[in-house]
């Protein structure tokens, strides 16, 4: 199988900060590959190296069979990049921005319209509006249209859904899934753990290191213990008490519950007695499936 991206031993430091530390991974054709990690993990630095905008200190990056340093000119024609910060021209209209990007890449909007029609049709009614006056969801759709207008083989999206509301986020992922029909490989980063499930494979990244690369379900399955969901009305009291319980391995807040692992991977009557003595009489416990975030916490 052809690898669209092949990264081996990529490192990058800024001053004393190790932004990327010996990063190796590969991305297959037509896959949606996600980088999941918090701010400062190294996602943007890595994307800037893949897109030939930044040179690595060490390692080799091969993209679409080309070297990211030697073949950067040819490579840029085949990559669509949507940076994390909205970087279209705010004082041009929607239509002018799209035409501009098409022209820069030596093509026309008409030529590749079928590729963007699904996305662009949402904002076409506002094509005379200045890009700076669009809502967050509309800006995101325009930026994606501009990144796609030269029909790239590889699309790189840096936190495309950050700051966008949940409805638009959900629509966005449906659009990405549809792009696969056009044989476009997509690399996307997000700080939202739940979005990992929308990717074919994900890399968990933290402090410049890749912690794990696998299909999202596999990452969840990697959780090494039985996980329990404990609920009570007084959450702070519940967490404090659970941490004092002798069999507790780890207890941390998770949404409206507390996620807990126990030494014996099971719960006994003594837990309820213990919590009741701590003044918690409305406790419920249920075994639950680990999420990507639980696994991330385990690996950190």
């Amino acid at each position: 199988m052809i690898k669209v991206v092949e990264s081996s031993g990529i490192s990058k430091t800024f001053g004393t900060t190790n932004a990327l530390d010996n990063i190796s991974f590969s991305v297959n054709e037509s896959e949606i590959f996600g980088f999941i990690g918090p701010d400062g993990a190294g996602k943007t630095t890595l994307f800037r190296i893949i897109t030939t905008l930044l040179l690595p200190d060490k390692g080799k990056m091969t993209v679409l069979g080309m070297d990211s340093i030697a073949d950067y000119k040819e490579l840029r024609k085949n990559i669509g990049y949507m940076p994390g910060r909205f970087s279209l021209y705010q004082d041009l209209t929607v239509e002018e921005n799209l035409n501009f990007y098409a022209t820069v890449f030596g093509t026309t909007v008409k030529e590749n319209y079928d590729l963007i029609s699904d996305i662009y049709s949402h904002i076409e009614p506002f094509k005379k509006r200045l890009a700076g006056k669009l809502s967050g969801g509309m800006k995101q759709k325009l930026a994606l249209s501009c990144a796609l207008i030269h029909k790239p083989r590889l699309l790189i999206l840096d936190e495309p859904t950050t700051g966008v509301d949940a409805v638009s986020r959900s629509e966005f992922w449906i659009m990405l899934a549809k792009l696969r029909q056009h044989n476009i490989t997509i690399i996307v980063s997000t700080p939202y753990m739940d979005e990992a499930m929308r990717c074919d494979r994900v890399a968990l990244i933290q402090n410049g290191l890749i912690l794990s690369v696998a299909p999202p379900q596999k990452i969840r399955d990697g959780f090494s213990r039985k996980l329990f969901m404990v609920k009570a009305r007084e959450k702070h009291k519940l967490i404090t008490a659970l941490r004092k319980y002798p069999d507790t391995m780890k207890a941390y807040p998770f949404g409206d519950s507390v996620h807990v692992t126990f030494a014996g991977d099971r719960i006994t009557e003594s837990l309820f007695r213990f919590l009741s003595e701590a003044g918690l009489n409305d406790v419920t416990v249920k075994e639950t499936e680990a999420s990507i975030e639980d696994r991330f916490l385990e690996l950190m």
């Binding site: 918090p38 509301d165 933290q206 950190m300």
Partner: protein, 244 residues
């Protein structure tokens, strides 16, 4: 005893002919963690500006920490704290300087600032960072400090705007534990966020759409009502964004 820290009755806010807040009514209680959700453009920011004394209602009644927002918006500002993910602290000031600045703005006595600064740095295990510039602190520490400073003057309510967006899962959890502890002390925590998983941590949440509140209950009850597994699913079912 009246436990209501925020009382909003028939709040209407118009900009010209545009109705940004269309007859909002809700209450928030002492020590509650209240999530205020809505799509982009739903009217959240307008409502929060009114609740924090930065804007006044066109009509209706808004009482925050016992103060009427139409009559004494300046009084409200003394009673609340605010922290946002985007702007929180001055990067070119040290940790102690930031604390001093905020304490001073809220009119706290120097001796009290000094005493609480020592306590705060000790509690956060921050002693070694006291004289460091904010710019030199990792993001996670900054967020914790920003929150601590937002409640430094012991406000009745603290408004948090996407407080844990983008931070790593461990820091995020430490942060929520700080929020739980704050709420347990009786400070009301008012959270606005786009991150639906943040909403799951709240005691109650409201969802705004097109200027109105279309849902208000505990996350568990809303999930039951809309047969959804997550708040995100609830949100997608009922919060239609204004623009596409």
């Amino acid at each position: 005893m009246d436990n209501r820290v925020i009382i909003v009755k028939n709040l209407i806010k118009k900009f010209g002919t545009f109705v940004a807040n269309d007859n909002l009514s809700f209450e928030v209680f002492k020590g509650e963690i209240f999530g205020f959700l809505g799509a982009n453009g739903a009217g959240k920011t307008t409502a929060i500006r009114i609740l924090s004394g930065l804007s006044s209602p066109t009509s209706g009644e808004v009482i925050v920490a016992g103060v009427n927002a139409s009559k004494k918006p300046e009084e409200i500002k003394k009673q609340i704290g605010y922290m946002s993910q985007k702007f929180s602290l001055y990067e070119d000031l040290t940790v102690k300087e930031n604390i001093m600045l905020y304490g001073g703005i809220y009119g706290m006595k120097k001796s009290l600032i000094k005493e609480r600064t020592d306590n705060l740095l000790e509690k956060l295990n921050f002693q070694e960072y006291g004289n460091k510039l904010i710019a030199d602190l990792p993001l996670g520490l900054r967020q914790k400090l920003a929150f601590s400073i937002a409640i430094f003057h012991e406000p009745k309510i603290v408004f948090l705007d996407e407080p844990t967006g983008g931070v790593d899962p461990i820091t995020r959890r430490q942060f929520w534990e700080m929020i739980y502890e704050t709420a347990e002390r009786g400070i009301t925590v008012f959270v606005t966020t786009h991150y639906m998983d943040e909403a799951e941590y709240c005691d109650r949440i409201s969802i705004m759409s097109e200027g109105r509140i279309v849902a208000l209950d505990t996350p568990a009850n809303l999930k039951k009502l809309y047969s959804a597994d997550t708040v995100e699913e609830v949100f997608i079912k009922i919060a239609r964004p204004v623009n596409n």
